[in-house]
Symmetry: C2
Subunit: 473 residues, 2 copies
């Protein structure tokens, strides 16, 4: 019997076991060695069978752990393109505003907060570093930092970009109070009210709010599930509209989790450059690729022209509460520094010193590896829990980085209804329509998988699933 048939037959047998529930979602498949022994096939045949099932989406490999049965619910189809906006729109989703109440609540299980739990971060080391700088020179820690931010920290940030082949001059870096300040400074610097800004759909509600606050109009380019920003569509929109700036999240869009390909990134930067559109990229999740391979920021495709403004932050990988981010100003560095100076004067000194100290004395790369691993595992655990406990027809994104899970609920269940029901039970989620300028994604929900996996988290996912079942019944 030819080898091809052997592995196909083996795969078919396994497929049947999965479909009948003999092997259940989330369970570990037999090891290759055991499978070979039990089924009397060679190791190569066992490998072929698993690769086949993996291509079919029935099992998946986890590093150093083996193959697992995947959640049976369909994922969001790759390449799904959200509806396009055909003309520039003023911001008009009033529901955005209600989100604040949830953000401010500390008494709920925070599936709504796209931020990692402290247990996933090197918190103890950072606290030690903070105490150390405070003891070494309390005077410096209490004084104003220069508006641009402390030099050592800027140098460390430039070094990290160098690691992913992006040249950054520490002098063009400005330390900000998180990435949101970086983005609002950039928008305030390059736009004036009434200008048209290109955003993704779906996109982070904070970007929609920032754009609204500045009186800007919005056109939207689809961020396709699993495929990221549609560069061809963006180019077409730029041809038709006089766009001033594009605010994009190519690396693990929040909420979709999608990574835009290098091909699309290159095309995006080219199209924006050709139309003199300033590119503001939110690279908040760039260091959080589950594969460990840091995707390129858009800036890498800029050819050193300084046409891209890159915003980042330590909030999602070190200390949310420190509020230390940055902006690589490119050719707007001077104007950005001015804007910074007259909005918050300077970023708080102690958090800057503490992070610089941490980066120089501790192993940040190791901490990042651990964080990525935990997030990747969590994303899978969440998907499996949802597969088991949520209504049939629920579709879940397959993020390859970051900590957002983007769910499409089976109609007629609405994200807002589930959000409210969950909140009443002390569980925070975010309804999908927040991530749209026009109230799209009514059947979507965003969950954060940045929480440390434990019994309350598992129970919480089960509870929201039951609530969804009940709302559908």
């Amino acid at each position: 019997m030819p080898e091809t048939l052997l592995y196909e037959r083996l795969a078919e047998r396994l497929r049947g076991q999965i479909q009948r529930g003999v092997l259940r979602a989330g369970e570990r498949m037999p090891s290759l060695r055991r499978l070979g022994r039990e089924q009397r096939v060679s190791l190569a045949t066992a490998v072929e069978a698993y690769l086949h099932l993996e291509r079919e989406g029935l099992v998946e490999a986890r590093p150093r752990s083996g193959y697992y049965v995947r959640a049976p619910h369909a994922s969001l189809p790759r390449g799904l393109t959200p509806a396009r906006t055909r003309a520039p729109q003023p911001i008009r989703n009033p529901a955005l505003l209600g989100v604040l109440d949830v953000l401010g609540r500390k008494d709920v299980l925070p599936f709504h907060a796209a931020t990692p739990s402290l247990e996933l971060l090197p918190s103890a080391a950072l606290a030690t570093a903070t105490t150390r700088v405070l003891r070494r020179d309390p005077g410096v820690a209490l004084s104003y930092a220069v508006p641009q931010g402390i030099a050592e920290l800027r140098q460390r940030i430039a070094q990290r970009y160098a690691q992913c082949a992006v040249d950054v001059d520490p002098d063009e870096i400005i330390i900000t109070a998180g990435a949101m300040e970086a983005i609002t400074l950039a928008l305030r610097t390059v736009t004036k009210p009434g200008d048209i800004v290109l955003l993704e759909t779906p996109t982070y509600y904070g970007l929609l709010q920032a754009v609204a606050a500045l009186g800007l109009r919005v056109i939207e380019v689809p961020n396709r599930a699993g495929a990221g920003i549609d560069a061809a569509c963006a180019a077409e929109l730029l041809d038709r509209h006089s766009v001033r700036a594009a605010v994009l999240v190519p690396n693990f869009n929040n909420p979709s989790g999608s990574l835009t390909s290098d091909v699309d990134k290159r095309a995006l930067v080219a199209a924006c450059t050709a139309h003199d559109v300033v590119v503001i990229e939110d690279d908040l999740y760039g260091e959080l690729a589950y594969s460990g391979e840091r995707p390129a920021p858009l800036r890498r495709f800029d050819g050193g022209r300084g046409h891209v403004i890159t915003c980042g932050s330590f909030s999602k990988m070190l200390a949310p509460g420190f509020r230390v981010g940055w902006v690589l100003g490119g050719r707007w560095a001077t104007e950005l520094l001015r804007a910074k100076c007259f909005s918050t004067v300077a970023t708080a000194t102690l958090p800057q010193l503490a992070i610089a100290e941490y980066l120089s004395r501790h192993d940040f790369d190791r901490a990042l590896r651990r964080l990525r691993r935990e997030l990747a595992t969590n994303a899978q655990r969440y998907r499996e829990a949802i597969a088991h406990h949520w209504p049939e027809g629920t579709r879940v994104s397959e993020p390859t980085g970051g900590m957002a899970l983007w769910l499409e609920l089976p109609a007629p269940l609405e994200g807002q209804a589930l959000f409210e029901a969950a909140l009443a039970r002390g569980i925070g989620t975010l309804p999908g329509h927040l991530f749209s300028n026009r109230g799209d994604y009514r059947h979507h929900l965003r969950l954060s998988c940045g929480l440390k996996w434990d019994a309350p988290v598992e129970a919480g996912l089960r509870t929201v699933g039951s609530l969804a079942q009940r709302l559908l019944a």
Copy 2:
């Protein structure tokens, strides 16, 4: 001989000694007891003589220290009214932008920085408080604070306002990254581009920048040396122009140091309320009255209508580098919180916790008393040094709070020229035209008296004086 003549004759004698340089500026006058004994007059007559000389501006009383000879240069005349702007103006002082280079320099004697030296602040106690909160619960210190800011700190701020008879609900307070963020949030919340905003002249250049960045137009109400904001003029301007908001610094205007009277404050709030003009007050220096008597914020005259937005900060009295300020939102509290949430998300947690801890465990009032005393003494020392070493005809403000000294240089000496000459010698100052929308105050200079008095500071003042002499020669 009648008592009146006795004290007049005594005063005349002393006046002669001062004018001939027998008693020199800055020197202590004989004690009342010694004067009585030496001049064979009663204690009451000695007191009368000194009060007479004080009214003439020749001597001054210093608490628990006695009478001192005052600097001979004329002060800026009380009630001097800067030229009025007759029509709304777009911001147009390009020189404002150059100021950044100085603000960012750490290698100059910082007469340009209106911030107290760390030696004048309770830095050690605050560092201890910071270490304590970090040790007690590092997790909380590294996590996001709620966007509004931590509850205990908001409560402490409300308590301080209660001490000066202003009722504040902790729920309407939002903790900000310093007072500048508070003011820009307020402006972004209540204005739209093209709106007219009422500012003082002179006023803090940061306000001019913030207003410019938002595309607002400006009309100016005089801040009179020693008398503060001219409420009658403000009312007249509001009658004639459709003003949206007023951004005012009634308590120790920066740079003039003037305190606006309660009568004018009441009239200002009444006029603004009548014209539906939102009052944004920058109360950054309210706690720094040399007399120790905290002047009222404008909010006290608002009758609980919530029509005044009050901005403040710990930057000038506790820790500049912590970047912790606040805004009392009044009836805009909800909108302000929204704006905060989508500009910097939340203020850094650790500095908030550390200040709350400091306020609950240390004696802030004592630290403030010490700071006020040092600033008051410094202001006088600066005035005397200027009297001795600067060109004849230099006029100096007489601040009663804060840390700004506002100098008018004798023509044709320009502030910009002296600023540049001093900077070349490693001494920072700020030229007067920065404090005007229209480049007025060309012959003015602002100095900070927040530095700890020591030999380099004294030498620095002497050096700038010599440079001024040379530029005039």
